[in-house]
Symmetry: C2
Subunit: 367 residues, 2 copies
């Protein structure tokens, strides 16, 4: 039987799903969600120029396997060289390639307990061994991450700044200093998916050629193109080149490339979206406050609402919200799982959340 | 230095590029091609319904990670169950997942000398060992492929029907009979990328649950959606399930899913395209004949033109065409590399080819 011939690693992998998508949840519910506040998507959407560029794309043609125009625009935006940039199928796709390049069976990888599950999925998928350190005051803890990396001789250390699912962040300067303690032989994977939502100074000022770090960015969040599946990484050319050994060279959707290029070239639209995201964060905090709940300061396009008790209670609140057609998610690990995570959205969707939250809390308290 | 910590496999992989794309070639040429006849794209393009569906897609949302609607439509089209279908980022993406599931370092894989390089790229990329058998009369040779698989205990055997780059094909009934000689423990990967361009009866009638075979289909060819990067595989549910262990669950572009769904639902448009492809094949054969060249019968959206001498001569013809702004490709291996491969296209693009070919032949003969 052929399935007995899967690789030993593939045989022992669980049928793992990092996330259940909102459509899958809607099929279970039997109706669409009223508010889609769970996947940190950006309801404000992409630049109209990006929409036009995608619509004009001739989809019978394969995309440019080298993403030359997009890489040139990104290089200009960041003041770096195109050789420092690899474009890929979202951060998720790039994470898979990076893990494949570095992590073999039994290799150590360090992350935070409760951090991005899709990263963990890739590490497990290539046979790596995950070592997790706890958050510190709801922040990822670079000092502890790097100390653990030294202890276990980690090939890769994952750190999201701003953090998901808490929305907390470190100042770039502090992160740059903390890097001094990254052990030689460990690569820092700095996931900056939410960086465009963060205050000035959150991104550390590092040379793109710094061999200690690879940074990942995406068009899925502030740029509003989650459905396009396109993101990029910034690193030293030597590491960027290694991606070409394993990546799916013609894997990028042609319209996604055109849309991302147009989005990069419309920074004034991005500013408008940043303002809307900041407004939505304030509104979420206000709704929480009206219900006697506190929120965590956030530098991302979502807010962690502290439900004030344990994980079971927060889960009950979440379930009650989902039952009322409000799609939200929550942190996986204690004590962060005392929170639920609310994505920024329109006033109308947040009105639905505001209407449902008191009932959900009452349900959870009564449960 | 971190790059010394790439996995041993990643360190030894070449910086391999299965294909140089037409955009990359245009950058070298310094001007756009007049005719894009090299990548087996479909210039007739996707169904207008697919174009409309893509344009209407809300790109701020992630795609459905389970592709439920598309799988349902494909299941109906083929009279099989959705559990027999996995949708992925084109056949290229699905090839990568399948190889990853089955092929570890040193595992044997069988293909034809000169067959699809992207498959070879994935096999090498996961450390597999390729065994190649020659074509027989410009056809892939199932008997020899399966005999080699038995000899080397291959986990995977690659066979494209219709074949790329020659365009030749086997009748489905003959392939189904040949399968009796596939060794136990070998999985046949039947690449049917061009099947919608082939005569009735080219696809073997096999149960979708047949554990010996996985079939791959794409929206890049007859459906005209190469830029969307979407394809699917048909296999027994046990094998389909294994893909969920390694695939990028949210890797599909949302518009690509919507476009593919609309394309499947517009089979009458597909029929129009099939007619245009057949016309273009005849036109290519006619152009070749006017130049004293013969062509191979083709069941694909391209035609192999026999340049009548050796590989060096065909390469000279190809170079002379490219220099005249006609993008074409050619087979990699002898004796198939006596041919150049011309993708079906519009009358206008084929006029450019017709104008350039006599000069290109004269150049090559003079060289």
């Amino acid at each position: 039987m052929i399935y007995a011939r899967l690789t030993p690693l593939a045989q022992r992998l669980p049928a793992n799903v990092p996330f259940v998508g909102p459509e899958a949840q809607e099929r279970v519910l039997g109706r669409p969600f009223k508010a889609r506040l769970g996947a940190n998507e950006n309801v404000f959407g992409p630049s109209p120029r990006a929409i036009a560029a995608m619509a004009e794309t001739e989809m019978w043609k394969y995309g440019d396997s080298e993403s030359v125009e997009l890489r040139a625009a990104l290089a200009e935006l960041h003041g770096i060289a195109p050789e420092n940039i690899i474009v890929g199928e979202g951060i998720d796709g790039l994470l898979g390639y990076l893990v494949r390049l570095l992590v073999g069976e039994g290799d150590a990888v360090v992350t935070s307990e409760g951090a991005y599950p899709t990263f963990n999925y890739h590490v497990t998928g290539f046979g790596g061994v995950l070592h997790r350190v706890p958050y510190r005051d709801d922040h990822e803890d670079p000092a502890r991450l790097f100390a653990k990396a030294a202890e276990v001789d980690a090939k890769l250390v994952y750190l999201a700044n701003p953090d998901n699912p808490m929305g907390t962040w470190h100042e770039g300067a502090a992160l740059a200093r903390a890097l001094d303690d990254l052990p030689q032989g460990s690569l820092l994977l700095l996931d900056e998916a939410y960086i465009e939502c963060a205050p000035e100074g959150t991104a550390p000022e590092l040379s793109a050629d710094d061999p200690r770090v690879i940074r990942m960015r995406t068009f899925s969040k502030a740029y509003g193109l989650a459905g396009a599946r396109i993101g990029y990484a910034i690193a030293a050319p030597e590491l960027i080149t290694a991606f070409h050994k394993v990546r799916n060279h013609f894997g990028l959707n042609r319209a996604a490339q055109a849309g991302a290029l147009a989005a990069v070239q419309d920074q004034s639209y991005l500013k408008e979206v940043q303002t809307k995201i900041a407004e939505a964060r304030r509104r979420i905090a206000q709704i929480a406050e009206e219900n006697g709940l506190s929120t965590l300061p956030s530098a991302a396009n979502f807010v962690a609402v502290d439900c004030g008790r344990d994980g079971a209670f927060a889960k009950a609140v979440l379930d009650a919200l989902v039952a009322r057609g409000i799609f939200v998610r929550m942190p996986f690990a204690a004590p962060q799982n005392r929170c639920i995570r609310i994505s920024c959205s329109t006033a109308e969707e947040l009105d639905h959340f505001a209407a449902a939250l008191p009932e959900a809390l009452a349900d959870a308290r009564g449960a």
